[in-house]
């Protein structure tokens, strides 16, 4: 069974579900939204599901015994079942967080707590770190998958090692292997780079990490929204992703973890709803996932996220992936055809998602973005929270275009068309 990608006609149909995409005018032009890499837009069905829950079903969950509370708890746990199924996991291995960033911080602090012996560390031996132990991350990471590990190293005395990217900006299993040692406790890496759109060989990296017995943490922020994902099949121990990049609301993300690891991991945030018995001296904690969910949760956000997942599933993640591969290829090819514009990361023809960053010779990224903006084209400019990778590429900032299921080839072409005028407008040398 081969996948039929979406086509322009279907996408134009889909766009009708997104008022912002059809109704917004910027400086007199209809908006072309190419900034999904930062945050996606939201379809009516998702916003309506959240509003309806809030106005008709809201109550505290896992606490109240009254009818409304019991119903709200059902909504909330059904949402967990839906989102966890979407990534191939069972509900016990999916913890709600505020965003992907918080999921990574949860791991970083839980490991500090294992080291300090606090927060329910009875079975936390394998999460303890000390001088001589090593944490591995890569040069391609978003700051969210770098700084929490730097600070974990600072708190525990462990050493942080950084895997260099290859000349295409890719993380390779070989480079990871070369950075690992017997003392490596954890390897944190990204599935898809939010700067280059390059896709990491996850099973390859996991295999290397397993050879030295290191835990693996996958930053799946840019993969889960754009391709079918099965975390257990990928073999990673932990993974994080965010709702707002996949048609869902802001304010919610998730940490996936193998259930036995989550149950052994010390807690992070503490407070109500995640405890069994509390005295003034001591607290005992429940098992995953509520173990990590202190205080009143993101209830309506979970409900809305589940609706977003249903929307994506109805279309089919394989079809979305195939369509975005087309858009990504068109972007990459189009960019390399423009004089004085450099495509970062993999060359056209190499696998990438619908995302491409560029450097325009003689024109600063913010000036590029400004010109595109007044033409109604919304892209991201800056370091995209990846300063080390930009430094490696010899840049401070770049311009990024990123697509989703609601973008047409025409959107890509309008971007390329405006891009071709940038150097002329700014009278860049040789333009």
């Amino acid at each position: 069974m081969t996948t039929t990608p979406l086509d322009n006609e279907q996408v134009l149909q889909l766009k009708q579900d997104f008022p912002l995409l059809t109704e917004t005018q910027v400086a007199g032009h209809p908006l072309v939204y190419l900034d999904t890499g930062a945050t996606s837009q939201v379809p009516l069905a998702v916003a309506d599901a959240e509003r309806d829950f809030t106005l008709r079903h809201r109550a505290a969950v896992h606490r109240g015994a009254h009818t409304l509370a019991v119903e709200a708890t059902d909504f909330f746990e059904d949402a967990r079942a839906t989102v966890s199924r979407f990534v191939g996991a069972d509900p016990y291995s999916l913890v709600w967080t505020s965003n992907a960033t918080e999921g990574l911080n949860l791991l970083s602090y839980a490991m500090s707590n294992a080291t300090a012996g606090s927060n329910g560390s009875e079975h936390a031996e394998r999460f303890r770190l000390g001088p001589g132990d090593e944490i591995v991350t890569t040069q391609a990471e978003h700051h969210a998958n770098l700084i929490p590990w730097q600070e974990l190293a600072a708190r525990t005395g462990a050493t942080l090692r950084v895997v260099p990217v290859d000349e295409r900006g890719l993380i390779t299993p070989q480079a990871v292997a070369a950075t690992l040692s017997e003392r490596t406790k954890l390897v944190a890496f990204t599935h898809v780079s939010n700067v280059t759109g390059a896709i990491t060989d996850v099973p390859g990296v996991v295999a290397e990490a397993q050879k030295v017995g290191a835990l693996t943490v996958l930053d799946a922020c840019q993969s889960v929204p754009h391709m079918p994902i099965d975390f257990p099949a990928l073999g990673v121990d932990f993974a994080v992703f965010s709702a707002h990049k996949m048609l869902g609301p802001t304010g919610i993300g998730a940490l996936y973890g193998r259930r036995e690891l989550l149950n052994a991991l010390p807690t992070f945030l503490t407070g109500g709803s995640m405890i069994t018995k509390v005295t003034t001296e001591h607290a005992q904690y429940l098992d995953s996932p509520v173990r990590f969910e202190a205080g009143t949760q993101r209830i309506s956000q979970a409900v809305a996220w589940a609706e977003a997942v249903r929307y994506l599933e109805k279309i089919g993640m394989d079809r979305i992936e195939a369509w975005e591969a087309e858009l990504g290829g068109r972007l990459a090819r189009g960019i390399t055809e423009i004089d004085g514009v450099r495509l970062l990361g993999p060359a056209p023809g190499v696998e990438r998602v619908g995302l491409a960053s560029i450097d325009v010779a003689g024109v600063h990224a913010h000036d590029v973005g400004q010109l595109l903006d007044v033409a109604g084209i919304a892209v991201r400019v800056g370091h995209h929270c990846a300063q080390p990778l930009h430094r490696e590429l010899g840049l401070t900032a770049s311009t990024r275009a990123s697509t989703y299921l609601y973008n047409t080839t025409d959107d890509v072409d309008r971007f390329l068309d405006e891009l071709s005028r940038v150097r002329g407008y700014f009278r860049a040398e040789g333009a």
Binding site: H364, A365, H366, V374, F426
Partner: protein, 159 residues
């Protein structure tokens, strides 16, 4: 391109972004007897600039020279260049008044019209005030000069 864009990128700005008065290859990060140095960083984009300002000796110093190294967008480079041309010869109160008016104009979201008598060429930055995200670009070097000149002046006064 659009008229709106041309309001932001006035010809004078694009020209200064290329020719860049005051820019030097030399390192300007150490201050002399009657000069001050300021380093400014724009966290939104990661751009930075280092400015050295020298003033004349005495109780009521005037600006002698502005030199800088840095990287940034056309707005920030042009703003540094324009100021490097305008500042020399100004008394400190004159400079301060100009910077104050520049700041006020930029923050006004298009509400405060530039006083060309005070701002001269820098009036060309009026269009920036409608682009909130770019206000910091225009201010970066001006804040650096403000900081550096104060350092220089307090040295000049005490020597």
């Amino acid at each position: 391109m659009s008229a709106e864009l041309d309001q932001l990128y006035q010809t004078i700005i694009l020209e200064h972004s290329h020719k860049r008065s005051g820019e030097t290859e030399q390192d300007v990060s150490s201050a002399g007897e009657r000069s001050g140095v300021s380093h400014q960083y724009n966290p939104t984009c990661g751009d930075e600039i280092t400015v050295r300002v020298a003033v004349t000796a005495g109780e009521n110093p005037t600006v002698e020279a502005v030199e800088w190294n840095g990287e940034g967008c056309s707005i920030s480079m042009a703003a540094a260049s324009v100021l490097s041309e305008m500042a020399p010869g100004m008394t400190l109160p004159e400079l301060e008044a100009m910077i104050e008016h520049f700041r006020e104009m930029l923050r006004s979201r298009g509400q405060v019209a530039p006083d060309e008598e005070i701002l001269g060429d820098a009036a060309a930055f009026a269009g920036v005030s409608k682009f909130v995200a770019r206000v910091k670009c225009a201010m970066l070097s001006w804040v650096a000069v403000e900081d550096a000149v104060n350092q220089a002046a307090s040295k000049a006064r005490t020597t």
